[in-house]
């Protein structure tokens, strides 16, 4: 059984979200992609009552997370995902415009898988997603929804 991870793009800038999606598709990724416009929307997807049931069993996810967003920022989303025992193993790629060393360090401490700075090298970016996608597919089925 091969489950393609659904790619969650958490990004407040509409242009960035389109570029990410188009470049991933151009690189040959055929994964389903969902777009969330801020951190709160992403948290709702995972933590709202009934969210786990709505996601469907056995489904794997990969999160592309911007940092500076209105309402809830990416660092807070990352922190909450990594603090949850059933979501902890979810691969999270921080995708952000800053290269501030403290910010990078903070994200790694919190447990992000990869940190990529925009404007991105889309080839490297697609490669990272492909590998992580393979990784979740092979190793972590079903990582989410397990109690």
């Amino acid at each position: 059984m091969k489950v393609e991870p659904i790619i969650l793009i958490v990004e407040d800038d509409e242009g960035h979200a389109i570029l990410i999606r188009e470049n991933l598709e151009a690189a040959g990724l055929s994964n389903c992609m969902l777009h969330f416009r801020d951190g709160q929307a992403a948290l709702d997807f995972f933590f709202k009552p009934g969210a786990a049931a709505a996601r469907g069993p056995g489904q794997v996810y990969l999160v592309l997370l911007d940092i500076r967003m209105p309402k809830v920022d990416g660092i807070e989303v990352l922190r909450q995902l990594k603090a949850d025992p059933s979501l902890r193993k979810l691969p999270v790629i921080m995708l952000t415009t800053t290269d501030d060393a403290r910010e990078v360090e903070r994200c790694h401490q919190l447990g992000c898988s990869v940190y990529i700075q925009k404007p991105v090298d889309y080839d490297r970016f697609a490669e990272a997603i492909r590998r992580l996608g393979m990784f979740v597919t092979l190793m972590l089925v079903p990582p989410v929804n397990g109690n």
């Binding site: 800038d13 242009g15 960035h16 389109i18 570029l19 188009e22 309402k71 415009t97 800053t98």
Partner: protein, 418 residues
């Protein structure tokens, strides 16, 4: 120099000094020496604060400068010890160490904070020189001091400025960080969609190259011409507009720091009435009810303070709850020597975790809900800081927000700490 060396030096000295020839010459020499010593002492008294104590620390002599700075008369000082001017600024160990040094015949240097008769404090740079008897025990202590009160005050001021500067630097760093991020964001779109534009051009070129008999099939052009290119142009234009707006905002913010302030007494009743009148149209349109209480006067720059309150009123309008009439209450009071004004609304309110962020440059809590560049409160904060004022907020989601503005009350009550 050891004791043995000293004795050897002394005996060597005796052997070279010619024996006194006659009594008259000897007396003349003595007189000359005494005169010289007296003049040196006069010079010392002109420059320094001098006190002499006996071996137990009791004052036996003070010069005029000592009396002047300590505000005590000579009779009040002689016979007492230095505790009379103790400011209690220094810990007991400080004086213990001092006494250990001079008690062992060593010269002591240091800075002491003393208390004058009227309770005011003064700082003296001090040298205490123990005069020893033949056995090497101190019999007298000569203390020579210089008034350094002014220097100490300057040092303190300098420390305060340094801390303030460090704080400002940190703020500036945070602004540069935020702005560089915010400027990069549209740049990513300009770069990314430029590549999309290039790819679309490439498709059109390929279609043109493959044209049969000079005819390019419309189907090959549809995607680039109708979708890719317009989308790319839309985002590139939006990116450029955003960058322009950010730069204009940044310029406005930086200009604020250079505008000369004209600080004077402000009639706040009048100022607020004007600010409300200037927004009458928008307030009426929103059916807003504005209540203004009695406001204490304060010290500030009229134009800039007006801008602060105009911004707060504008925010109350912007973040009102659409399905209930907007109520704004403006009040004022005097607290801890400052005038504190409140602008309270019954609007949407700000969640706790977002409250510290609302003063950050270009920060927008909900960019889709309302227009704005995220600069109003940042500017209000900057404007108030320059007038030695402050702004802060208390808010509850669904109930409304209250903004507090403090400004100095008057000349005499301007806080020394900014």
């Amino acid at each position: 120099m050891t004791r043995e060396e000293l004795l050897a030096r002394l005996s060597a000295l005796e052997s070279v000094v010619p024996p006194p020839r006659g009594g008259g010459d000897h007396e003349a020499e003595l007189l000359a020496a005494v005169t010289e010593l007296r003049d040196i002492k006069a010079a010392l008294d002109e420059h320094s604060i001098v006190a002499i104590t006996d071996g137990a620390g009791r004052i036996t002599y003070v010069n005029d400068k000592f009396c002047a700075i300590s505000q005590y008369a000579r009779e009040e000082l002689v016979g007492r010890d230095h505790r009379i001017i103790n400011s209690r600024h220094h810990p007991p160990e400080f004086f213990r160490d001092l006494w250990t040094a001079i008690g062992h015949g060593r010269v002591w240097h240091g800075e002491i904070k003393n208390r004058a008769k009227d309770g005011s404090h003064y700082w003296v740079e001090t040298t205490i020189f123990p005069r020893l008897d033949a056995a090497g025990r101190p019999v007298q202590y000569v203390a020579i001091r210089t008034d350094i009160t002014r220097r100490k005050a300057d040092e303190l001021e300098l420390q305060r400025f340094t801390a303030e500067l460090a704080e400002k630097n940190k703020e500036l760093e945070a602004i540069v960080y935020t702005v560089s991020h915010d400027l990069r964001s549209p740049l990513v779109n300009v770069q990314g969609f430029s590549r999309q534009l290039a790819r679309a051009c490439e498709k059109i070129r390929a279609a043109a190259a493959g044209a049969v008999e000079g005819r390019v099939p419309a189907a090959a052009l549809k995607q680039p011409v109708e979708e890719a290119i317009p989308q790319a142009l839309r985002f590139i234009n939006a990116g450029v507009t955003k960058m322009e707006m950010l730069l204009a905002g940044l310029l406005r913010y930086s200009r604020l720091g250079r505008v000369a302030l004209s600080i004077g007494p402000l009639d706040m009743d009048g100022l607020i009435a004007n600010a409300v009148a200037a927004m009458k149209f928008q307030l009426d349109e929103a059916k807003a009810e504005v209540r203004v209480g009695a406001l204490p006067p304060c010290l500030g720059d009229a134009t800039q303070t007006n801008q602060v309150f105009a911004n707060l009123l504008d925010n109350a309008l912007k973040y009102r709850v659409p399905d209930r009439p907007l109520r704004i209450e403006i009040g004022g009071r005097v607290e801890h020597g400052a005038a504190i004004y409140t602008v309270a609304d019954n609007g949407v309110g700000i969640p706790c975790e977002h409250q510290p962020k609302i003063f950050e440059i270009f920060h927008r809590l909900d960019p889709d809900a309302t227009a704005g560049e995220g600069l109003g409160l940042t500017i209000a904060q900057r404007v108030l800081e320059r007038q030695r004022g402050r702004i802060w907020v208390e808010s509850a989601v669904g109930k409304g927000s209250t903004f507090f503005v403090s400004l100095p009350l008057g000349e005499s009550s301007v806080p020394t700490q900014s």
